[in-house]
């Protein structure tokens, strides 16, 4: 079984630019979660998608957005990049709403550096 795949693995952007990160969940998983892991800050919840709908978003500005496609893959978009957006962005998938105890499976992340 293929795991959660994220692309790209590394990315360098200039302040003010826009970036799109991609995530493919495990086959059969319908929920996708995005987390930001900045140095020393643990994992901060960004967005949760299930069955194509945004179910919840964390305490991040509107320039962080995303979507989930009919095949359950997902994109995270960040506009007007700021230096503090530099972080590891992790995507996780699960079997869907109400099945959280089946556990999240995380990808290896996209390392974003904003210069």
């Amino acid at each position: 079984e293929a795991g959660v795949t994220q692309s790209p693995t590394h990315l360098i952007k200039t302040r003010g630019q826009q970036v799109t990160l991609r995530c493919s969940p495990i086959s059969g998983h319908t929920s996708v979660y995005w987390y930001q892991q900045a140095l020393g800050l643990g994992l901060q919840f960004l967005l949760w998608y299930d069955e194509g709908e945004e179910r919840n978003r964390g305490n991040f500005p509107p320039r962080f957005s995303g979507r989930q496609f009919p095949n359950y893959s997902s994109e995270l978009n960040v506009n007007a990049l700021e230096l503090e957006d530099s972080a590891l962005y992790l995507c996780a998938s699960s079997r869907g709403w109400g099945r959280r105890e089946s556990g999240y499976t995380f990808g290896s992340g996209t390392r974003l550096t904003v210069v």
Partner: protein, 112 residues
């Protein structure tokens, strides 16, 4: 508002010893408490999880102890091995909201 507090930030344990990581939560609606293990360059992986209707859960060398009245839970790693060296995160969620709220992580180093 940080809803899950984790300590210590880093921990060094000798091989064969017991590693103990503690977490405390504020939201009494939390009803699912997993622990994740993360190696450098990898995403976190589910290690073990507990619900508040039990006080302890053991899987191999890993045990979660849960104290509902104190709103605390801890991970114990028995017979710690160098391969256990990783960052450990506690987390919590409540029914109806599938997102996990994570602690800030503990970097565990097992020395020979």
């Amino acid at each position: 508002q940080q809803q899950v507090k984790q300590s210590p930030q880093s921990l060094i344990v000798q091989k064969g010893g017991i590693s103990i990581i503690n977490c405390a939560y504020e939201n009494t609606a939390f009803d699912y408490f997993p622990w994740y293990q993360q190696f450098p360059g990898k995403g976190p992986a589910l290690l073990i999880a507990i619900r508040p209707d039990v006080s302890e859960k053991k899987e191999g060398r890993f045990t979660i102890s849960f104290n509902k009245s104190a709103k605390q839970f801890s991970l114990h790693i028995m017979d710690s091995q160098p391969g256990d060296s990783a960052t450990y995160f506690c987390a919590a969620s409540h029914f109806g909201n599938e997102k996990l709220t994570f602690g800030t992580g503990t970097r565990l180093t097992i020395i020979p």
